[in-house]
Symmetry: C2
Subunit: 277 residues, 2 copies
């Protein structure tokens, strides 16, 4: 999916919500555990209940991988039922030397090889240019590069300043713009540090950010939007646990729908207030 | 496998060779392509031909993942035939927020969940402490953390100096020693930059390094050993393409054996010269 289509979908749905499919076999409603593929049954119900309120789904690959090849089958079936007008993100945090990143790109982008046809993949920047570029060789596919993450450990390295007082996450933001522009690259910017959004926006005015950390991790939607929105919206706000685990009972999908709709309605107000619809 | 056992194996085999199973369906000998599972057949032949000369196997996860769930099945079968006295490395470069890294740890360490029981996994440091620690909660399992990688892109961020002129890869080496000691953590240090080994050794005198980049990427075994060996050997030298693709014909396993033995013999000399056997 290209940028223009993504923006069109956001405006049509009045939503920039991404729903994280962090589907953990240990947290599923009990009545699903007898199904042949409980992970898929859960995802199917969540997708059917929430797809009108979100513009993106983000399967967190760790959760599928933790179940071995069975988990990859569940992921495959899940991807096959996500509506075509929804942007898909393989949240995989991959990155390796060039010849290996090329294989990770096949894993997420090359349907003939792996069965998967994601629109984007999250990539870790530590290994630099040749670890990222192989993901950029597919038409209309995106790299979503880690810049400033939402977790506590982000403080260990991402704020280390170089001799021009530029923290590492800013070096990532500037250096990586030599590899691809805002039509092919987005950045992960965590909602738990909204005070940094204004400066990050200055460095990457036209880019989309994938923003984790609203909800379970404590980030605020309003704060993020205040500093992060641009004139093409420029934000995909992720929510995972708050939506998919809103209830652990028979009504899990219904409750997920309620939570997704609540976020969509907040987003619609924010878009209207900022004259972005 | 614990450190003492690993050192014992190295001394018994007079080898600190790790063989990278970067098994690419597009590079397999043609006669294998008719097999039900060509990837597994290739690995099986390589393992049978080389296991007496190496102390570790390192499946490069990207290559299996690129084939979807079928690839994970091939990996599973491969792991099941690796002899128990050989150290296994999931070269996966994973790392995410704590609750997600915990699931990646299940993927590689928790046989009951995923089917896999690797001894170690490679982890990317960008997201800091809580992205690494979940991998350290399994007995006798190791984190192999990226420090200085062998690729060209390593230069983009890993050499950025902080205000004490300490490059990022050194910050990773020192900070991460707060999370685990040399009995639970190793570092990836690329062979393509042997001039840095002496200084890295000073910062982590007792750690094992997993060293990629000898062979296809141009690194020299002698140079690496000159500066990288410690009194417990402290090196696992990886070779992938040079060994597993030594021939693309019917004799691929035989030729792989020749290459593996050649490296083992060089290593035996180096160990003897350094009085490490």
């Amino acid at each position: 999916m290209n940028k223009a289509t993504l923006i069109q979908e956001i405006k049509a749905k009045k939503s920039f919500l991404c729903i994280g499919l962090d589907t953990d076999i240990q947290r599923l409603p009990k009545h699903l555990l007898d199904a042949e593929d409980p992970i898929f049954e859960f995802n199917k119900a969540i997708i059917e209940a929430t797809s009108e309120f979100c513009v993106a789904y983000k399967p967190n690959i760790a959760f599928y991988e933790s179940l071995g090849s069975k988990g990859w089958d569940s992921l495959q079936k899940t991807m096959d039922i996500i509506p075509n007008n929804i942007f898909t993100i393989a949240d995989a945090k991959r990155g390796d030397i060039g010849n290996t990143s090329a294989l990770y790109a096949r894993a997420f982008f090359d349907k003939a090889s792996s069965g998967f046809n994601f629109d984007s993949v999250t990539v870790a920047p530590y290994m630099g240019s040749d670890s990222v570029k192989p993901f950029l060789t597919y038409d209309n596919k995106w790299v979503i590069l880690l810049a400033l993450t939402s977790n506590e450990g982000a403080g260990d390295f991402q704020f280390i300043e170089n001799n021009q007082q530029e923290p590492l996450y800013k070096s990532v933001l500037t250096k990586s713009q030599e590899w691809a522009n805002d039509e092919r690259m987005m950045y992960v910017v965590g909602a738990t540090r909204p005070e940094f959004f204004a400066e990050i926006r200055k460095l990457s005015p036209k880019h989309f950010y994938l923003v984790p950390g609203v909800g379970a991790q404590g980030g605020s939607l309003e704060e993020v939007c205040k500093y992060g929105l641009n004139d093409e919206v420029g934000l995909l706000i992720n929510s995972s646990r708050n939506i998919i685990y809103a209830s652990s009972g028979l009504d899990f999908a219904e409750k997920a729908k309620v939570e997704a709709q609540k976020m969509q309605e907040e987003m619609a107000k924010i878009l209207a207030y900022n004259k972005l619809t």
